[in-house]
Assembly symmetry: D3
Homo-oligomer: 314 residues x 6
């Protein structure tokens, strides 16, 4: 069966897709319609369901898998689907939303293994125990959550995958600069975005929680470290713990980006720069994948709204 991104213009198709969004609106003729976003592992596409009955509105909710019969069209330059027929899946058909969500390109087991190996390289006892404690506490969410609602790594497992890639970069960089405290850098990398498991609602239909909006993931993970210290009977005012909290609080680099303090230790600055590299690589790669050589990508919001050129013949 074809995937959403493989359809050509004017192609008629039938496929199973996940309803990502389902907003009910009023048409100019006074009747209701549903503005759908459908999703599979290749990407997503919008489509309008006109003259929706109350029954249909109740039936087709976000988070459900449906059988979609449609035609792939273009509307104002964007892909869209003309819905020919839509129904819920039958018992003998696939209905697990997880099958239709984008996923991290590395298997969870491999990621877990690599994190576990890294834990042995965190030789400071306080950092090691805090990291183990929190990875354990949020194990399920860590490997399930995206790294963001949109922008970069906005897919299931994106949080762990983003963290893992940063760890790999961190190891390369540490090799080049032995003056870096590797234990501290690795501990900081593993924890830096863990607050996102409290900031966001999860992998499907990702939204910000109230705590996410009012406190933010930087402080949320700092509070988790504080509570871990209480439980592990580590003084949170030991200098190594203060320094670890600084690592996570400072990782956005600038006050304007929401860090309450700018990096004031070497490893905190490097953590911030590694984060930048992986986030921008992920955003640029996604954009470049959707553009032909010799053309420009769409503007990337998270990169100051720049569009990038994809060179040809090089």
């Amino acid at each position: 069966m074809k995937k959403i991104k493989e359809l050509t213009v004017d192609e008629t198709f039938e496929m199973y897709v996940l309803i990502k969004n389902a907003d009910v609106r009023l048409a100019k003729n006074g009747k209701k319609f549903i503005a759908f976003t459908f999703q599979d592992t290749s990407g997503s596409i919008d489509g309008k369901f006109w003259d929706a009955s109350e029954d249909e509105i109740t039936r087709f909710k976000a988070g459900l898998v449906v059988a979609l019969n449609g035609k792939r069209e273009v509307y104002q330059g964007n892909p869209q689907v003309k819905i020919l027929h839509l129904r819920l899946t039958r018992p003998d058909e696939p209905s697990d939303p997880g099958l239709y969500m984008e996923k991290a390109p590395v298997k969870r087991e491999e990621m877990e293994e690599e994190f576990n190996q890294t834990l042995f390289e965190i030789t400071n006892a306080h950092w090691n125990r805090i990291v183990r404690f929190l990875l354990n506490k949020y194990q399920k969410e860590f490997f399930d959550f995206p790294a963001a609602k949109r922008n970069h790594h906005a897919f299931s497992g994106g949080l762990a995958f983003h963290t893992l890639t940063m760890l790999r970069l961190g190891k390369s960089i540490t090799k080049e600069y032995p003056q870096i405290n590797a234990s501290l850098l690795y501990a900081g990398i593993i924890l830096h975005d863990l607050g996102k498991v409290l900031e966001l609602t999860g992998a499907a239909a990702t939204e910000y929680t109230v705590a996410g909006n009012l406190i933010g993931h930087l402080v949320l993970v700092d509070e988790e470290i504080t509570k871990a210290c209480l439980e592990l009977k580590i003084s949170e005012f030991d200098e190594d713990v203060v320094v670890l909290r600084h690592m996570v609080l400072a990782h956005h680099g600038l006050l304007e980006y929401g860090s309450p303090v700018r990096p004031r230790i070497m490893e905190a600055e490097i953590l911030h720069q590694i984060d930048n590299i992986d986030a921008s690589m992920q955003m640029m790669t996604s954009a470049v994948k959707n553009a032909e050589p010799g053309t420009y990508t769409e503007r990337i919001f998270g990169m100051d709204n720049r569009s990038f050129y994809v060179p040809k013949d090089v």
Copy 2:
């Protein structure tokens, strides 16, 4: 006995003062001298002690009360003292540094009483218990610490006095706008700067702690609320607790000023504006007090480096 600020130019005097700073430096002639700042409750003044012996350097340390015989002069537009004679106080002379530090203009007992009264107006049980817990935990420091190293309320008891004045303003404003949640505003005001007892070293020779520099008082008090919840068995994810944490985290108003989130609830915005009013009133008043009518004050760093005009005949 006269106070420092009452001396006239070229006046010779003898008085007891506190050594606020004592920096040892090298003169152009290769000999050491001590650059003193002396202080009493009226203010402070600089003076150089030339050709200091190793013995004198050891004897005259910051934090000690001394008997100073000097002449009040002016150097490059600033007051300074020419030191004629200097000695440590004798057993029968006053030697308590507390006698020579600026103090809040309201007595501690009165302030305590007013805070206690306010606690009854915080009707939300979580907020009430958290505020009581933390006021209790840091009672001594709260009434002793300054509100800042320099700039505004940089005197003993300044933290409590700044908080109290804000409470009074908060009550007036709440009267004008009944839509404000008074409990929340008062709880937020009381806690907003409490992290300074961890950010600063104390009332005398005030410096930033490592945690103050690397974490900052906004997050430090947020962590205290988190720990209080654990001890008081309040869920820190109850919405009222989230909202209280937001109050303290957002009170600098702008990300550029170190808040990890901007105010997103009405009371948080008002807390920020009340803080502004009291801080700027205190800075302007200090500056205006030292300027003659018809002249301009010194530039005030904390107010975008503006100097203010003191009108005459109005």
Copy 3:
């Protein structure tokens, strides 16, 4: 009779409303329609009048009261009215536009009384005479005009009400800080936005005048003070007059906000901060009133485009 804001979705109704705007546009089918905004004291709502004849276009003008038979719907998330029938009011029906405009929550007489009382507290003779002269000169407009075209206090009487609330705040703050020159602060508050009676066209269908756009209300009121001095035979270079002009010119606080000078006297800074408090309280309150507890308000343009959270269960 119900008010606009009391209608429920899909409710059919008949009511008298004021035409606030009536823009004629061309539909996709080549026929003209009128895009109406209807208004009563509870708020406003949009509605389209399709296939409008030239006669209807001439008849239904902004500023008239009409009898509207319609159905309350939702279009792209915003309330709108489907117009079933529309006609001008008959002689025996209410037709005074003033009946359908939002109003200040305090009666004009009460406001006048309170301003008059305050005049006795302005003890400097120049300030007192200038304020009396200008309040007298623009008495009608002062109690009729809004404080802005949109954003805060955008209703009939909004200018006087905004000024009055600021006066009340000013009195509370002066009580806390006796070093403030109360006469000056009150005179400055009363005059600070009076230039809006020249900047705007009035309470109904409020627009900017040419002088409003090219000169602005800060300088317009400064010019009024200058002319008042000529008429009252007060030298405009007396220091107290200079200081009063500074109060009104500096009240936007920052050059970027249109003040030609930043506050350089203590009372000017405080005037600016009081203005901030009342303007933001009014904007936040309007927004919060339209949002359910547990949700976020619309973004507020005048507050750096932030949306605010309305806590629940607190």
Copy 4:
């Protein structure tokens, strides 16, 4: 007799100079000294007068002409004079301060003549009358004042000269763009900086007045136009008068530079740009004059602190 700028390093000299500044300070040895700035038409130089007696302090005041016997030296890279002997001028010696101040390079009579000619080209009756009225009212000051305390045209007659050069540029530009309203542009140019006669204290020992600091020359001249209208019985709300006031208020171009409104009519934008050209030409020319070809000028504060290169062999 040589001029200040013609002296070579280590040259001993005797000349008449004007005392521009005379600040009394305290030396490290506890004795007073006078920090002088001496001036003649070629420029100025600093010099310290050590061990000054009270009598000497009283005798040598700013604004007096003195006979100076000194040696031209260099101190920390800057020219300075070692004072060998200093005395007041005798009755038979020159003592008019005006002889020692920098002057505009065009004679006052020529400037007056050129302004008079231009008045005939201002064909709008309101503008013509207002400009004549104000030029007449401030005639003496207009031809005497500098255009600024420091930065550009900071010399006697600088205000009129700056205005005249702008008029000449304005005429050239109007020839290129006939769509410009020449009357308006010329009226705007003549009035744009006239408020400086109220903002500054005069040509010698130039300081800001209180009105200059608290109101600023843009609004000061706007007020003058307002008062002129009252006296000339011109309505200040006639559109041409509004537009003229806009010209002077907007001429700093950006709110950040102190204009309460940005240019909103074509001629106001061009007035701003002409002002820029003449101000920057004057600043660059002064700086370049003091630098050798092949070297860089000092940093120019008024041009974003840039230093300029003076090319050689071109």
Copy 5:
């Protein structure tokens, strides 16, 4: 025959026009339509061609001249044409696109003559030879290209016309300030925007080239000077050549506007300011031409999005 800008609302007409843009889109009914922009020497207008067949889509391409029978309407405040009939021109009808493009208001021959005269005023041999070489190399494009894709001088010949007007301004300014090196200023003016012949694709259907986007016209003309030096056997490190390269690289004035260096020689600063004057005069004049006296122009993107007022009765 009438021109586009001369049509009145609801007027039916027939005229020859150039297809400037022809975008194919999908209507809500699922059928394709062509969104046209038609152009003649007076300006341009949009119009939609509904239910376009594949044949029509192929036939009506941008860059072709067509015979248009339509009705001039208004849609959402903007002029638009309702297309009644559309056909390609017949052999006996005009079909040269150049006949329908806006043109510089000065004839090419006159411009060439004026540039040639100016070359004699560039007395430095290096500058003279480089300018001649490059004007010769890109002669055709220089007189054909617009000065920008949109904003100012966006018409055929706009580049040469913009350059010529700047030269005229440059000559007036040089007369006022003889300290300016006229040779250098004129050489800089002629070359400053010449890189646009490589940055843009040409006069019709103007787009940015890849080199335009990735390198920009400032560096592109700098490279041309470098190559010219190689061919003319002039050392590119001679100071006069360095200075000329600086002129073109610095002419945007600020780093934020894409200059890799800010102006550091007097003539470079003046070149930048002359460029500002002509660009803004052209943008303001275009906007003002389309607005009635007593109204405001559309917002002008290139002038910080300001709209300008067109005074009446002045």
Copy 6:
């Protein structure tokens, strides 16, 4: 023999050092003195030579090696040397300035070898030839020049060492992200700062050249690529060459930092980020080396003036 950085306070010593700077100034007593900066491979220190005769001023010039007998003191918190005796080196003593300059920590031969190996990984023929051509043309300077006048890698060989470290980082990052065009990244890295051999004067007494100040190293290397293309008969408008020029022009990342274009291809963005990492690692490491654990470094100008904390016991 001890090195400069190994001296303790008040230690008397004799050593050979290089005169880095020798500024002649006038003391308050009217006599000349020389303000020296002495340097060896461990760092530098200042010292004043009082009462310098004309002969001594002529003898002790920057760039010479001298025998210094002095005492290591502290002046206003900074290390300085009290000069007891100073003389030029004798024929039998070391006099090669190169022996006293800081050097890259990797040997030139090793660096050359690593660059040569990398050339084989640049598989695009144009890029390969251009890089080889320019490395060859500026071979001597590339391995001799510093990467900056001050800030980071300000030592002999710093340019090549900075480039080499970036290459190593580039290779690690490319391994993590195979979507990066490695050839392009490596070519861009090698050339990105090569313009510094024209921007700066060399390794000793490093200053900016006129071309460095007026054109800057980004455009200077772009011009070198342009000229290389002419000599190698490669069309500079081939897309791969355009892209390579973009790499060097965009590597400062932001217009405000002097790039005429922001990165618009993926590899250009990554080049910029790698540059950031190595520059900041070098600046932080230098600063941290001079600070004790538990203290803060000096403020680092190139890192937004932050000071960094050096944790202890971690």
